[in-house]
Structure formats: C-alpha cells, structure tokens
Symmetry: C2
Subunit: 416 residues, 2 copies
Amino acid sequence: MRVDKHIVASMNRQLVLETIWEKGPISKAEITRLTALSLPTVIKIMEELAGRGVIASCGKTEGSAGKRAEQYVFAGDAFYSIGIDMTPTNLKVVVIDLNGRVLGCGKKTFDQIPDVDSVLNDTQALVLSALADSAVAKEAILDVGVAVPGILDTEKGMVLFSPNLRWENVDLLTPLRERLFAATGIRWELQMENSNRTMALGEQYYGSGVGSDYFICINLGYGIGAAAMEHGELYKGISGTAGELGHITVEKDGPLCTCGNNGCLEALASGRAIAQQARNLISSGVKTSILELTGGDPAKIEAKTVFEAAEKQDMAAVDLVRKAGEYIGIGIASYINLLDPEIIVLGGGMSNEELLIEQIEKVVKVRRMRFAGRKVQVRVSELGEYATAIGAAAIQLKRLLRHGGRLHANGEEEAV
Amino acid sequence: MRVDKHIVASMNRQLVLETIWEKGPISKAEITRLTALSLPTVIKIMEELAGRGVIASCGKTEGSAGKRAEQYVFAGDAFYSIGIDMTPTNLKVVVIDLNGRVLGCGKKTFDQIPDVDSVLNDTQALVLSALADSAVAKEAILDVGVAVPGILDTEKGMVLFSPNLRWENVDLLTPLRERLFAATGIRWELQMENSNRTMALGEQYYGSGVGSDYFICINLGYGIGAAAMEHGELYKGISGTAGELGHITVEKDGPLCTCGNNGCLEALASGRAIAQQARNLISSGVKTSILELTGGDPAKIEAKTVFEAAEKQDMAAVDLVRKAGEYIGIGIASYINLLDPEIIVLGGGMSNEELLIEQIEKVVKVRRMRFAGRKVQVRVSELGEYATAIGAAAIQLKRLLRHGGRLHANGEEEAV
C-alpha cells in the first residue's frame, strides 16, 4: 500500500510503456498529455526504454502546429515468445513476436484423449519444429507460456483438475521444463494459465479486447469456459477458479457432466456434447447424414461432423446445433445479467460456425434482461485457430509491460 | 492516471483514515507500520483528521515495550446518516451513526405494490418519525442514502426499470429531495443505489463482509438480486446493471418472470414466486394448511405464510420451500463456479428461514464444481431486517472514508 517514490517511478515507467504500446506511434508530447506526467519525466523514461530496445522511433510526422514530432512505437517485433495450447483433441504451438505476429507454428491432432507423457513428447517435438519454422534463434525467445484447460495451481505448475483432459493433480511444468531443456539446452521459465484465460489474454493484446476496460472471452470448443479481463487484469477469483461458465447449471435434471454434476452448460452444448448427442440420435435409429460423413463409423463423429451435416441442411444436425446455440445463448444472457461486461468475445473451435453463432445471438437478444447490459457487444474472435496458443505466448508480453520493459532475459534483473 | 504529489497526499489521507476505521483502536506507530508511510506523514494526517473530529483518541494502552501508546478510533459516533429502503412490500427508514448503530427507525408495510407518490408521502413521514425516534438533530445528519430495487441511473436519480415495483423511467430523487426539504427545511444531498448493492455496502462496513477482499451479497426477498464487492468497491458493470442474479435462467421453459423472460431464478424461487406457487397449489385443489394461516383468503398468502406452514410440517409447504432452496442453491453454485468469491452473504427477508437455508447449503455443496471456489464461505447476514436501509445510510460512510474525512457538511468543501 505504500506510495513512495520508488513505486511512483515504477508505476510511471509502466504507464509510459503501456501508453506507447496501446497508442503508438505516438510522440513524447502526446504521451505527456495522455499520462499527465511531466515532459522531463517522460523523456527520462523513454530514453531508458529506448536504451533497452523496448521502444523504437519510427520517424517524424506532421504535428498540429506544422512541426515534425518524432513518433515512437513498442518494439514488439524485437521480442519473441513461445505459446503452447494443450486440449483433449489437439496440441498447438506458436512462436510469435510480441506484436502478435505468428512466425512459426505446429499442430498435432489426437485420436483419443492423450495422457500427460504423450503430450510432453509431442510438445517437445512441436516446439522444435515451430522454432525451425519461425527462423527465430532459440536464444532470442524470452520465455514460454502454456495453456491448459481446467483448474490449475499456476504457482506450482500443477494441473489440479482438468475434467476434459482427465488429468488430476499432475505436475506439468517441472517435466516440461526438463524436456524443453533437454531439447534446446535452454532453461526457459514456463508460465502456465488456464486456456480460457490465455485466450482472453490474446484478445486483450492482439484481438477484439484491445482497449476494452472489461470484457469476457468465451471459449466454445470441446469444452466451454470463460475468462474475464478487468482493467487489463485477468479476474481469477479467490481460489483462482473463476470462469467455469461451462459448469453453470442450465437444466436442473440435465445430462451428467464430466465434472460430476447434472445439466451443466458444457454437458448440453459443448463440442463434446454435440458429438455425443449425434451418436445418441444415431444409436436410437434416427436417420441422418451425419453418419455418412464419417464413413459409417459413429465413433468418428465430432462436433464438426454435425456442423458439416447441418450446413448441408440435414435437419437432425440443424436441430442439434440450434439446441446447443439456445443453451449457450441462455448461458451468455445469464452472464450478461450478472456481470454486465463491455464486450463478449466468442472464441474456440465452434466460434466460426455461422448457424451456431446466429442462434446464440438470437437467444441472447431475447433472454438478456431489458435495460441490463445495454452497452454489451458480442463479437467473434478473429485470431483464428491458434488464438489460445497466441494468448499463452502473450503471457510474456504481459510480464514485459508490467515490469516497465524489464525482464530477466539478456542478463537483466527482473523488476519486483 | 497522473501520480503527482496532490494525489499521493490524498491517497495517503484516505489510507490512514481507512486503516484507523478498519483496525482501530490503533496507535500512530502501528498505523505507520501498516501503511508503510513515514511517521511524520502519519502524524500530520492524524492531526488534521482529529481536528475535523473524524478520529478521536480513546486513551492509552500497554505497548509491547511496556510504554503506553495512545490509541485512536474512527469517530463514527459523531456522524449521522439516514437510510431509506424501498421495496414492493414495505418501506423502511433508519437513522444511524457512522459506526452502524441504529438510533432510530421506522417501517411501513404495503398491502399492494405502491405507486411512486404514495412511497414519497410515506418516506417523508417515516424520515420525520425516525429522526424524532433517534433524538439526532436534523442538522447533524450528513446526508441521505436511498435503496431501490431494479436498474437505476444513479447519477440522474432515475429508476429506469424496477420490475418488482413496476416503476419505469421514474425521476425519484428530485421529488424526494423536495419532500424532505419541505418537511425538514434542509436540502440534503440524496444518493441512490440499487437495493442489492446497498445491502452489500452494509455488509462491507458493518456486517459479514468486513475485511473481505471479494464478497458477494445475495438478497433473498420478494425478489432475488446480488451485488459483488471487490477490493472494497461495488462492482457495477459497464452499463451499471451487474448483479441481476434473479434473472439468470435456471429452467429454459420455466414460468414467466416479471422481466418478461421465462424460467428466471426469481420466477422460481423468490418470495413472490413461492407465494404464487402456494396460491396455484390451492387453486388446483391441493390440501394444505397454508390457506388456514391466512384465514382462508388466498390473496393474503405471502412467502412467510408458506414458511410458517412448513415449520408446522405441512408437506406441501415443505416441498415448495425445498424446491425454492434447490433453485437458489443451483444459482449460487453457478455463481461460485463463475466468480469464485471469498464470502457469500445471504441477506433479505428469506435469509432467516432455516429450512430454506439448509436446503440451499446442501445443494451448493453438491452443485459446486470440485476444486472450484474451495475457499468460499456461505454466511447468513446478521444485520437484521433493516440491513438494506443501514446499507443505504452507509453510502455516507463510504463518501467520508473515500474523501479522507472531508465532506461538504459543516461548511467544508467536498474533496474531488
């Protein structure tokens, strides 16, 4: 709580860097105006940041008085980070620069829910290939971020409970650090965060959440989850478990969920649920083209098979998609009534399915309470299939901005 | 965002006052330690606060080194405030000192949902009688806080949409200010806040939320609502409408709610809903003692009639209470899964009904996701039936603390 000159200096450095990051290209005068700091303070901080290579000049432009003012930007293209996204259906790795540009990537699809060891093996291989793909020297990587679905102990690097991966009390980061060291000879620091939260981080820095004071990111995929970003900070809750939108009850006596409860949103409307509902329909004898799309093997039905059939006007498939959309819409409307965010970003594998999104938007419109959440905008993510991995890599951008451009890398001390 | 010396001074004054308010009786040395400010700064601020009468010495006690250190407390008993709680079933007014002691109060019960004008009339009368009851001189009142259910424009003093009061686009504060001026000759400033939020304010300052960094207050009454208090601040949302827990959907095709949607928690489990369900049972011919308790008049059935019958083991009544408790438990478990708060305080008229609370606690335990909200505590409010009115009056405590002890009263300028 102390407000002394060291904290003020550190806050000011962070403030200047975040302003440049957010508003750049921007001049010293403009930064002075926006931050209300004195010009000498701004100049001193910017000299330090430029010295570290965290910001860079990008030339002069015409100012309002006709004079030319030098413009500065965050030098995100000079910093690199790796993001890893672990899900029950696939594993993704990206190498990005801190402007969010994907320089290298790799993906592995799973036929069945993978165990920890095989994920570690695949991660090791994908990191190497993504690095090679990116042509970024491994020494230039700041650090690595890892996205995992479920409830984590991020301090200890433990997966406490991931219903969808079926992992419980797994120490993930210790062996992963060793594997990456064995493969590259570098001891990166690994930061781990829940997948929904890394997705929100990616949207905050590079996507639909840029500039928003309070937005929610909803991950519509194999599971359903959410993360809220408040004043640029992830809202995590007191036990660190906030955001389990997939596990709000939407049908009291609904189907059993992987979490052990009945009628969770995820049990009724997730990718996993939609695939299961299609298999149930088929085994009860309903005639649908869904089965044909998998060559007659019900075990191969995935949510995307159902969406494909729905696009071809298969009525059973359309019905499944509409029902899922209704439940998701109900969940989102409840979320709006409860939390009244500025923006809701829909991400994850199912967020590109037009029929589903249409239905969700229709239901949200009807179910949202009158006058509640008047300002909310619902948007679909534009970061593509690597959104969560990009967000995992963005953990390093967050650290860099937070520390006013200082990070342990390059032999420098990490600021407290 | 500017961090200059004036803001630092103002933050420090607020910090010292809040520390005394929270931790008092407390010595200067202890405040210095807790705030990490310098002793001269603390002494200067405390002299100013004592000069204004905002803090007071309460004698000396034995210090750790055997010396006697003078102890200070927030002089809440020297400041008074009025709180008004408007609901569809009754109107309550309290006069409190800013330590939360109720010095005077008054209540009026409505037979039917009141219109604005009759509420204004009754408020005027109740404020006068509560003031007389309190023996506090009207000139000593800092200001007045008003609690109204529904969606408000607190800046303009407007009720935008209160489904339960059936008020829409009503300017409440302008005529109320005039009425109170006509009755007392004093032009108080009126602050208005949503009832659930004032209830949370009361818990924050005088109840189960004291010292909590993140708690949620759930109002179980004629309607159902909630408010979250984060780092001592009300979480209001972007449009100012957060907290509509009563309007999350818990039964997709459930009964019509006053808000226009189907299957809202409030439509299934509020006091209004429980009474309606009892009337429905009776009109469909179910034998229950509920009717006898109202002398055979179904129109007179209220939720408390049902609770009374349930206590006497009337099985139809027990069933209604259990069902309501199940829905409320589902709503709270969803809230925990989504937000992971530290404490959930149950308040409102139904929070003293043991059978209901038992059922809620049972369902929350089952429905809360494993590992999620591990640290959450569910508590029942201890502030009694005037809790919301006390919270409305506490708006003035909040202003006083926020402004480091300065308020417009006593001829002083209000700090920005």
